[in-house]
Amino acid sequence: MNSHQPAAGPPLRLVLSSLLRADFAVLLKNRRALLISTILPLFILFTTNSDKATKHFGGALFVIGLAIAYGLVSASILGYALAVARDREQGVFQRLRVTPAPTWTIMTSRLAIQALANLLNTIIVVIVGTRLHHISLSLGQYCLVLAVSVIGGAVFLSIGQALVGLMKSADSVNAASRVLVIGLILLGTFGQSGALGATWESIAQWSPVGAVMTLFAAVLHLSSWYSHDTLTLLACGGYIVVFAAIGVRWFQWDAR
């Protein structure tokens, strides 16, 4: 039993691959959450398919951007934050933390798997959206869409991380994330359309959902990349830094 094995910790590669494999297995088993985060954007694509509706939301590219953004919001805030809060409450993190695995690997693995799910989700939405609206994209544009998906996913994952950093109980995170997602969706939908007036339109444009939507629309229609889009990219970077800092600074591994 007393093996007196070398004092060094386990190989990082083995640790990370073990965590990634387990987190991927958990993601696949959470079919309901996976399905909801795919169905919601597809629902938006199909319900805004008419000319009038498409025009109302600023054109086909904005509608696709909106759908992708909503998929990312629901997966990252509802899915990720809630899963982290529940696992924390059940002591899953404490069990992982008593192993020699560095703590950053535990969160990195979760975030990486969620980012992968976000990417797949985005690909599905882009393929369906471009078919519905008869838009053809170049390979470069597909790559840019995926890059923006990573940025957009990071924005919403950092918001999710901030939520679990500021709230301990899974019930609180559940309630707050639902309110937040509904708020962001309403702000994105009605604010962007201008139905709530110019002030709300401006707030909506610079909100996380609005910023991500704008970025998607910009890369889907590259020829019209303006300085506004560059500022939007910077705003997304700002959201990521601020929310991630809050989420890391106040995150507690134990719910007690």
């Binding site: 039993m1 007393n2 083995l14 387990a22 059940q90 695995a101």
Partner: protein
């Protein structure tokens, strides 16, 4: 300790009369069956077989007196000390949870940490596990300072937490693979299947953790805790919620781990468990270590303590000593 679920293990030690009666019956039977003690060798054979029978009948082999002799053989020289907790203090804000706790655990020793709810057991364990930073003091695991080299220390530590704490959706196989990987153990399919066979979970290999029974969850949890052959195994109330069969089986596994040279620190509320498996026991209350002794010596030492006598019903038991030292008030 072997796994002997069918044996009757009386709570009390054999008394003089029943022991004498048993020996008399046995001698009588043997003498009538052969030439009465013709040689010294024959007499020795008879005496030995009677001694074995008495030990088995009263299950004395695994009882505290025998364990005490094992504990007495444990020499606490520097080379055999596996865990060295020195003047440990843990505080949560202004509240002191542990204050000046010191103890050592030797190689192949089973050490029990007892205390009422909120006494400081879990805080002590958490500091050893590296989950919380102690306010002061030091913890050395096999010579490694837990605070300075947490990763190296954790690699030498096996932990079974009190609550079931695996991702409920993962299967037995996936959990075993995950934790083997986290401890740097690469398990082949054959090795994994063999290990699951050994702990009786081969048929459940593809079942999600949430579908396992309490005993099965506990077996998996213990397997995961020792998958890397740790130097020290920490068990936080390992038998709570288990049926007697599963409890006995777990004791057997704990004893097996010790026989292979592993040291074990366990917390429990079960005095039966302490008497069955622990070589030494420490009682902690209000964050302070009250005493560290073998279970038998603890009883002997406090047999005439007025606080212990007050709560004892007849012969003084370990539970009487525990309540006598920590008080009768129910803790939240």
């Amino acid at each position: 300790m072997s796994d002997r679920p069918e044996q009757v293990r009386p709570d009390r030690s054999p008394d003089r009369e029943s022991l004498a009666e048993l020996i008399a019956q046995e001698l009588s039977a043997r003498i009538s069956a052969r030439d009465p003690l013709a040689t010294v060798e024959q007499a020795r054979d008879v005496a030995t077989s009677i001694a074995d029978m008495v030990l088995d009948r009263f299950d004395v082999r695994s009882r505290p007196a025998v364990r005490a002799s094992h504990a007495a053989q444990v020499h606490m020289d520097d080379s055999s000390v596996i865990l060295d907790v020195r003047d440990l203090s843990v505080a949560y804000g202004a509240k002191k949870a542990v204050e000046g706790v010191s103890f050592q655990i030797a190689q192949a020793e089973i050490f029990g940490l007892l205390g009422p709810n909120g006494a400081g057991k879990t805080s002590t364990l958490s500091a050893i596990e590296g989950l919380i930073k102690p306010e002061s003091g030091a913890v050395f695991l096999d010579g490694v300072d837990v605070r300075i080299h947490p990763t190296q220390a954790k690699a030498k530590l096996g932990v079974q937490l009190q609550a079931t704490s695996f991702q409920a959706q993962l299967t037995v196989k996936q959990i075993a693979r995950l934790y083997a990987g986290l401890y740097g153990v690469a398990l082949s399919d054959d090795e994994l299947t063999k290990s699951l066979q050994e702990i009786g979970l081969e048929a459940e290999a593809s079942k999600p953790f949430k579908q396992l029974s309490g005993g099965q969850q506990q077996r998996l949890s213990l397997y995961v805790a020792v998958v890397h052959q740790p130097t020290l195994l920490l068990l936080d109330e390992p038998t709570s919620g288990l049926d007697p069969q599963s409890r006995r089986q777990l004791w057997g596994r704990i004893e097996h781990i010790r026989q292979e040279g592993g040291s074990i620190l366990l917390t429990t509320h079960s005095m039966e468990e302490v008497e069955a498996v622990c070589d030494r026991v420490a009682i902690i209350d209000h964050g302070t270590l009250l005493t560290t002794e073998t279970p038998q010596n603890l009883i002997e030492k406090h047999r005439d303590d007025p606080a212990v006598r007050r709560v004892a019903h007849g012969e003084v038991t370990l539970e009487d000593v525990f309540i006598g030292l920590t008080g009768s008030a129910v803790r939240e």
